[in-house]
């Protein structure tokens, strides 16, 4: 029985044995990614060159506590001579940076104490979020365990219609199929070749909301073109065996999808096609585009395209947060920032910021937000009495103009 691509990489990174669902494998980890803080009681590390350190969640520090944590980070970087370091000024959201900067590479294993680390699955990289104590364990020992889950193969056919995006695809799946707890996803199909790297990174990131373990995209022409000038290291992609088996196969015809909105509080089986909710005219107080899910240049481009010559509705706050300094710079040069600001939007520095209710855009009780960030959990973006809907950046921009949740295909 053959192995799928995820099992192949895990096999190569462990003892080379056949890997199958239910196995616990000990795996060598290529990179640990750390942000905002480091514990000061670490006495020795496995390999400083496998450490990537950056500021992403709370940058620039919004509280004294965050500032104190930042001091711990800088001390750690100095103490252990960490070279892969992105201080304030070179900062960005960790999952965005590791792809842009050529660390998240095909066939590598990367961990980070943030659940959206599965983002790097778009790079054909075995990547997942782990907890803070395990992060310290891997930093010290250089390896960890994975409990191998069953894998669902998702085959995309056809092509997305105008104003329907990768974000809508990754909303459609849990709406239709529920959660994928402790299961892996592998993505294939002719339709996938029509989705660019920004879109794939969105889909891999939001796979965390499907409760998936690894969400692995293939090393194809689209990915090969993206990494060829960025890769900082040699890499070896993971491909499935010809006789690889999957627990389940799901086919999605992209041409049949319309924009998909996730309703508040949870994701699995809580998604509606936009046509089913626009007649409710759900009023929004805040519209947010950003995070590791949708803070990329193409997201700025979509927002600017919809907002050009229009105004954000009175009483609505539109916030747009880039995923990195580089994205913000490019968005400025392309004129997107100007367009968004002329429409009445706010463009912030790169940070996780409003996405996790950290700073720069929290919600009051009774308020409603439409967001193209990562999560709709109760209390996620501020008050537990706020409602969070999720849609693509186009849906968010259209809703900001209309003042209520709206279909971007009308803009």
């Amino acid at each position: 029985m053959g192995m799928n691509a995820i099992e192949k990489i895990l096999s190569r990174k462990s003892e080379g044995q056949v890997v199958k669902p239910g196995d616990v494998v000990m795996v060598d980890v290529d990179f640990t990614v750390h942000f905002d803080s480091m514990r000061p009681d670490i006495l020795k590390v496995n390999d400083p060159d496998k450490i990537i350190a950056m500021f992403d969640h709370q940058v620039p520090a919004p509280t004294v506590l965050a500032a104190e944590h930042a001091v711990n980070m800088r001390n750690f970087v100095e103490k252990f001579g960490v070279k892969n370091y992105f201080p304030v000024g070179k900062h960005g959201i960790s999952h965005v940076l590791v792809a842009e900067e050529g660390y998240a590479l095909p066939g590598k294993v990367l961990v980070n104490a943030d659940s959206h680390t599965c983002s790097s699955g778009a790079m054909n990289c075995i990547a997942r979020g782990i907890g803070p104590s395990e992060m310290t364990y891997i930093l010290c020992k250089g390896r960890t365990w994975f409990l191998v889950g069953e894998t669902t193969k998702i085959v995309l056919d056809g092509k997305l219609n105008e104003r329907v995006y990768a974000r809508d695809v990754i909303h459609y799946l849990p709406g239709e199929y529920g959660d994928f707890a402790q299961q892996n996803l592998e993505w294939y199909g002719d339709g996938l070749s029509t989705i660019d790297m920004d879109g794939r990174l969105t889909m891999a990131t939001v796979s965390a909301e499907l409760s998936a373990e690894f969400s692995l995209f293939p090393y194809d022409d689209v990915l090969a073109n993206y990494v060829k000038d960025r890769a900082r290291y040699e890499f070896e992609p993971g491909f499935p065996d010809d006789d690889a088996t999957y627990a389940r196969e799901i086919h999605v015809d992209l041409s049949t999808l319309e924009p998909q909105v996730v309703l508040p509080n949870f994701v699995a089986n809580n998604v509606k096609p936009i046509g089913d909710i626009t007649n409710e005219k759900i009023k929004v107080d805040q519209a947010f585009i950003g995070s590791c899910a949708n803070g990329r240049l193409s997201d700025f481009a979509v927002a600017a395209d919809i907002l050009k010559g229009k105004k954000v509705a009175p009483g609505v706050r539109l916030l747009v947060t880039p995923g990195s300094q580089d994205i913000l710079m490019k968005a400025m040069k392309a004129g997107y920032v100007e367009t968004i600001m002329e429409a009445g939007g706010v463009v912030t520095s790169s940070t996780c910021g409003a996405c996790f209710g950290g700073h720069m855009g929290l919600l009051a009780s009774g308020e409603t937000c439409i967001t193209a960030s990562t999560r709709n959990f109760q209390g996620r973006m501020g008050s537990p009495q706020a409602n969070i809907y999720m849609g693509s950046p186009a849906t968010v921009a259209a809703s900001a103009i209309a003042g209520h949740i709206s279909d971007p295909r009308n803009f």
């Binding site: 997942r128 803070p132 959660d179 707890a181 402790q182």
Partner: protein, 168 residues
């Protein structure tokens, strides 16, 4: 460490997420300062009602969400073990790595009412409702992962091996 844990049951439903366990404003607090905020949004006051030794019986997809260390929180509160219809992978890792016994057990929500007493053998997988006299078979974790729990979690391992400074 015993292969069983026994205690009064608290029930929580499906999709209990990390942000409910550790609210956004408490993310950077020290562990001991985070505890009182557990389930503040969905069940305010629970921390005062629960007692060390109590057991969590929870629904599907438990621990979905962020890397916030829900295992460390429940361990520090004195929860003796978590039995779930199913776990999110990251939530499960944090529970194991904190040294708290987990047991996946489909159907478990149906055999308990809140306040019942549960006796759980997390090595064999047998779940007993002591109050009602019913039992159910769960799916125990592989031994390698149970060994991490028995060792008291990964930080204990690191401290014993000299990677972390001794606790002051």
């Amino acid at each position: 460490m015993a292969s069983t844990f026994k205690g009064k049951v608290w029930k929580f439903g499906d999709n209990i997420n990390t942000d409910l366990v550790i609210p956004n404003y408490a993310v950077m607090y020290k562990l001991e300062d985070q505890l009182e905020h557990t389930f503040n949004a969905n069940r305010p006051g629970w921390v005062k009602e629960m007692e060390p030794g109590d057991v969590l019986i929870v629904g599907k997809n438990f621990g979905v969400g962020s890397a916030r260390d829900i295992g460390a929180i429940f361990k520090a509160l004195g929860i003796s073990g978590v039995v779930a219809e199913s776990f999110n992978g990251l939530g499960l890792r944090n529970i194991i790595n904190a040294g708290l016994p987990p047991l996946p057990c489909p159907g478990v929500m149906d055999i308990f009412d809140e306040g019942d007493v549960a006796e759980v053998d997390w090595v064999s997988g047998e779940v007993k409702n002591v109050t009602k006299g019913t039992t159910l078979q769960g799916v125990p974790m592989p031994k390698d992962l149970r060994d991490i729990v028995v060792a008291g979690g990964v930080e204990n391992v690191l401290r014993a091996e000299g990677y972390l400074a001794a606790k002051s």
